[in-house]
Each structure stands twice: as C-alpha cells, then as structure tokens.
C-alpha cells in the first residue's frame, strides 16, 4: 500500500541544521526528481539522531544505512549510487573507531549501544496493564527459575556475582543486603520496595512502575524467596496516582495467575504484595524513615544500626530496595551474573537510568551503561545544550549531590567517580546548566528544598541548613562578605559530619561542590557584588547600550519611577539610584538596547 519504497531521513536537529542539513535535504530532492524518482523515494527531515558529533546524518530506510558527515555536494552521489544503483557510498559510512571498519547497518553502530535499556526494557514496549504481554517478554520466568531450580543461597550468590548495587543513591550491593536479611532469623520478614522518589527532576521510578509494574513485583517475590519473607510492600508516594493504579492492576492479575499468593508455581512458596502510601516527604526515601512512615509513625529517620535487615518493619528483618534496582533483578537472573557484570565499570556494573533535564535539547529518560562519560550523555544522547549555548555544569544526585563541570566531561560516570568529584549518583536526576545559570542561585535553590524537607529531628540539619540558606540568601542579595564564604564551608562540613541521616549528611553538597568548582563566582558575588550570569537581580543594573538605542522613548514611557532620561532620537540613560529594577524598560525595547549587567 505504500507508495514510497525508500525513505531518506535527514537529521533536522540543531547541530546538523547548522551544518546545512536543510540544504542537503533540498539537494537530495532535486537529484531524485532529476532521476524521476520523486514519487518513489521520499526525503524527510527528522528530529535529532543524537549523534551530533558526526553530523549531518542521513539515514536510508529500509536498509538502515547510516551516512555521517554528509555535505550538500554528496547528495548527487547518494542518489546515483545508493538509490539508483543500490550501492552504498562507502566513504560516507560510519567508521568504527576501534576496528576501523565501515559500519553499514546503523544497528551495529557502537553509538546505538551508548544507550542500553535493561531496567527500562519493557517501558514503551508492552501494555503495562496486560500481564500476558509481560509474560510474553519472558516475564515471571526468572521467578519460576528461582523457585524451581535454585536455592535461596544460589540466587543470592548470583546476585552478589552480578555486582548489582542499589540504584536509589548510596549504591550498596544488593546481593549483600539480601544476604544480611536472610541470615537474620525471625518468624516473619518483609520485602519493601522503595518507590518514594523524591529528587527534584527524577522520575525513572515512576516511569518503570507505570510502564512495567510486573518487573518490580517479580523481583520482590524473588527477594521474598531469598530472604524467607512471605509479604512485600510497595511504599509509594500518593502523588503517583497512575503508577498506583497500574500497580494495583498488576497485583490483581498476578494473583489471578497464581504468581502471587499461596504455593506459587507449585513450589510451596507463599508471597503477597500490598501497597503503602507516602505523603511525599523527601526524608521518607531514607529507609528507616520510610519504615516508620509505613508503621504509621512520623516519617523520621533513626540511627543505624540496627539496620532494617535486623529490625525493620514491625521490628522484623526487612529488605528495602529501590524500584530501579528491582527492575534489574529479573533480567539478571535470566541472563546471568556474567552477562550483567560484563556491562559497566570495575566497581559499578550494569546500567543507570538518568532523567535528563535543564538546558539540554533532548530532555528525556535515558539508560546508559555505567562508565559512559558525561560528554556522551550530554552531547551525543542529549543533543547538546539548548540554543547553542555553552555547557557550564550538570547537577547529579539532586539536593544531595553536586555539580560536574567541563573538566569532568570525560570522566566515566560510576558511583566512585561521582563521589570523587564531589557529587554522587543519587537516584539519577541530571540537571544540565548553561552559561546563563548562576551557581550561587542553584545552590540556594537546592537549600530551599532541603530546608523545606528537613524533618527537624536533629539540630544540625534543622538549624544548620536554615543558617546556610540565610547566608546564601545574603550573598545573592549583595549583602554577603568574604568571611561568609568560610562560614558556609565550615558550617557545611559540620552539618555533613553531625547529621542523623543521609538527608543532612548530604544537604551541604550542592554548596560545597559549587564553591569548589566555581570559587570565582562566589567571590564576584561577595567582593564585586556582581552576578556574572545575570541571575541575581539584586546584583544587576539595567543599562542602555548607546549604539542600539534609537531614542524611541518607549522605555522612558514605560518606566514607573521615571528614572530614564533622554531626548527623542537621542540615546537614553537609566539612573541607577532611582531604578527599582522592574524590567519594564527591557520588555518594551524593540532594539535590544536595554541590558542587565
């Protein structure tokens, strides 16, 4: 039924367009009509391929040929050779940097392996509300395997060998955690799924629960078998109604099939799962606070030890894992520890999901093998910085993490490297900032969040963060002194050392890391009282650029305090002493003559 037998896809992403991909598209069309093929071969501009480094890209479908660094003058050859004669244009094919061989089919390009979906394997593929689709993708076969052919010890050993570490932030080895819970004898044990995703900008757990809820349920049952628990709870924030609805459907379907309940798959193993709702407090992502919240108490952390593996929910041994960690488990059991541990770096195995946000072209949810560099994530998968601006920093680990800068672009991302560079993995939020972002304001933004979310139980976090926030506020208002910088650092260190739980122990990180990476920005705020990025309005002044001003008087008429003077058709002037920095003049000016400095 298709009238076109071939499609030429030309990348229309920002990077490729700036290298004349639209001219390429036009020339391809012209060449095709020269050959009389305009009705059988279609040329179309697409979104960003993400492979901007080797742009402009032209992809030929259906044979999946991937041409890189195409120039407008190559159009003729592509049409004559490839389209008419069916011969690939060798010199335009992607060359594998390792083997130096031409890669004909894009599916074999290393670039496509930059993103590998393990935790997200079923997201966007199956209907999450139909258990049969999960089963058809090998769902529940890992549970079947574990119940039928493995002892709990064997499964735990397999998990240890795989090297899977907690994806919630701290990166504790999952197999070891299970082992602790297994070794603590008790009449009752619990498996808990931590779905209290709280980092601003992170939403991978929600996406997994909404797109593939059964993978999490299956993993919980597997853990139940390993540690000797017959009951599991998903602790999920009430702000995730769709995830909750799909989980409920999934649980009901699994029960109907007998994949949850009594005597699962005839193995004699019983396991059931229920939901517990959280009210969305950030601190409840911390496992002891989470357990207290589940018990109906205030969501406040307690000192570890005792760890939940000894005394958790209702005082019984409890294993808590994060959603993304769990989503990896069935895949590891199916494909083996060796397969999983072949992906990633020495200490960090497998993949990590990141929520890419901020000043980046392809905002989205990505999953990359550990050890991928920040440069690959931002410039090859993320399509680079918006509006061609300059990359400044990427915040990972949310309010507990820190920022990575240009000098970290080629550092492989794994748990250890992130910590060594003053940040952390966290749950996987990655917020990209460009030259227009002020790092002091960014630090203040994260402190806003921690001050709001501190549970108030311990003094360093409750009082200390508040004081940190006040210091930052003063600096942003231009009232800061140089000694404030030392105060920030000292107080930050004390809060880290003395807070009760992970929230306070990591809350000063955004400040310390921005101070380490951008000391000049802090200095210019306190010494020169200037915000070089033009964000802290209290430190900025409005100016009129003489060359651009044509004297139309629009700004003077808009100024509510009458601080703009000047004759018609003459450049105007703003009096900084009376200016209230409302910005009305800037809005009115059609000639970009009003600027903030």
């Amino acid at each position: 039924m298709s009238k076109y037998s071939m499609h030429l896809l030309v990348c229309g992403g920002t990077g490729c367009k700036s290298q004349e991909s639209d001219v390429i598209s036009e020339k391809l069309k012209k060449e095709l009509s020269k050959q009389g093929l305009e009705d059988t071969v279609q040329v179309i501009m697409t979104g960003c391929f993400g492979f901007c480094e080797k742009g402009p890209i032209v992809k030929v479908m259906p044979d999946n040929t991937f041409y890189t660094q195409v120039k407008p003058e190559d159009a003729e050859e592509i049409v004559e050779e490839h389209v008419v004669k069916g011969r690939r244009v060798e010199r335009l094919l992607y060359t594998d940097p390792e083997t130096e061989a031409h890669v004909e089919d894009s599916k074999h390009m290393g670039f496509y392996k930059k993103q590998l979906r393990i935790a997200l394997r079923n997201c966007g593929v199956i209907d999450p509300e139909i258990i049969d689709e999960y089963i058809a993708r090998d769902g529940y076969s890992a549970l079947g395997e574990v119940l039928t052919n493995q002892t709990p010890e064997e499964t735990i050993e397999l998990m240890k060998a795989s090297g899977l570490r907690g994806r919630g932030g701290a990166g504790f080895p999952a197999g070891l955690k299970w082992d602790f819970a297994r070794k603590n004898e008790a009449d009752q044990k619990y498996v808990v799924c931590n779905a209290d995703e709280g980092d601003p900008g992170a939403f991978m757990d929600r996406s997994i629960l909404e797109g593939d809820p059964h993978s999490v349920l299956e993993a919980m049952a597997i853990i139940g078998h390993c540690i000797g628990a017959d009951m599991g709870y998903v602790y999920i924030r009430a702000e995730y109604p769709l995830a909750i609805a799909r989980l409920k459907i999934a649980i009901a379907q699994a029960r109907e099939y007998g994949l949850l309940g009594k005597d699962i798959l005839g193995s004699g193993f019983n396991f059931d799962i229920d939901l517990k709702y959280g009210a969305g407090a950030f601190v409840c992502g911390e496992e002891t606070a989470l357990i207290h919240s589940m018990e109906g108490d205030r969501g406040e952390p307690t000192l570890k030890p005792p760890f939940p593996a000894e005394s958790g929910y209702m005082g019984k041994p409890t294993n808590v894992n994060n959603v993304e960690t769990l989503a990896n488990v069935p895949a590891i059991i199916q494909k083996g520890a060796e397969w999983f541990s072949s992906i990633g770096t020495e200490t960090s195995k497998g993949t990590k999901v990141f929520a890419l946000a901020g000043k980046i072209n392809n905002v989205g949810l990505i999953e990359v093998p550990m050890g991928t560099t920040l440069r690959e994530v931002i410039f090859e998968i993320g399509g680079g910085i918006k509006d061609g601006k300059k990359f400044k920093a990427a915040q990972t680990g949310g309010p507990s993490g820190g920022c990575l800068t240009e000098k970290h672009l080629d550092t492989p991302i794994d748990y250890e490297n992130l910590v060594a560079n003053g940040s952390m993995m966290g749950s996987g939020g990655m917020i990209v900032m460009d030259e227009d972002d002020c790092m002091v304001s960014i630090a203040r933004f994260y402190l806003d969040f921690t001050v709001e979310e501190s549970c108030g139980k311990c003094a360093p976090c409750r009082i200390g963060n508040k004081r940190l926030h006040e210091l930052l506020q003063r600096i942003c208002e231009g009232k800061g002194e140089e000694s404030d910088l030392l105060r920030l650092r000292n107080l930050g260190e004390v809060i880290k050392d003395t807070s009760l739980c992970g929230l306070g122990q990591s809350s000063p990180n955004p400040i310390l890391s921005t101070m380490d990476n951008f000391p000049e920005e802090y200095l210019s705020h306190v010494v020169d009282k200037k915000c070089t990025s033009g964000v802290c309005t209290d430190l900025l002044e409005y100016f009129i650029v003489e060359e651009n001003c044509i004297g139309c008087t629009a700004c003077a008429r808009a100024c509510p305090v009458g601080c703009i003077s000047g004759e018609r058709k003459e450049p105007h002037l703003i009096n900084p002493d009376t200016c209230i920095k409302c910005g009305a003049c800037m809005e009115k000016c059609k000639f970009d003559a009003v600027i903030l400095k």
Partner: protein
Amino acid sequence: MNKIKSLADLKKIRDEKQSGLQTREKGEAAENLVQVKVAMATCGIASGAKETMEFMTEALEKRGVDAIVTQVGCMGYCYAEPTIEVTLPGAEPFVFGGVNREKADEIIEKYIKNGELVDGIIPVNYETID
C-alpha cells in the same frame, strides 16, 4: 484466568502469548496489521496522549484501517510528548513526537495509508535487551 501451576506451565503460556501477543483483539497475525503504540505514562498523558490514543483508535476504525492501538509506558522522549510508535506491516517501526490530533490525522492519512513520512520523526537511539 487459570492459575499457572509450574515453571513448565509458565513457559507454555509464554510461548502461546508470544505468538498471540499482538493478535488478542483481531485474531490475526500481527505482521499483517498496522501497530500503533502510544506512550501513556503520567507525563505523556499530561501532554495529551489520552486524546491522541482515543483519536487514533476511533479514526483508524472509522477509516477502515486494520490496526492495533495499544498503550505502553514511557518511551523516554520527554521533549516530544505525546509520542507514538507506528509499525506498518513488514516495515521498521517509526516513532513520531508531538502527536496531537492534527498530527495524528496527518500520520494516518499520509504515513499509515500512503507510506509517506511526515515531520516529527524521532530517531530511536537505544538498544533494548530481549
């Protein structure tokens, strides 16, 4: 639904469902049908994926196109929601972004009926394990 009683039982069901995965509604092999997947996570729905899904289901039916429209989870292209994936019989899947009613209409009329691609294609750049 009958209970699954053993691993062998599960494997049998898996094999059945694998071949039956796409046929549940039409009773016909998937390869011969147009398949449309709509990304329906919270973020997609917030951007209008529900309307897109409804429109797709109704319009394809009305216009006599034999198609399976299903909801799936997040595809990861937040910058281009709502997103849909269209697989024509015998062809590679294409993902389209920013699919509102008008775009959906254009996709049906041009791509699904005619094989003519339209703007808004998102090149897929990841591998998924089987």
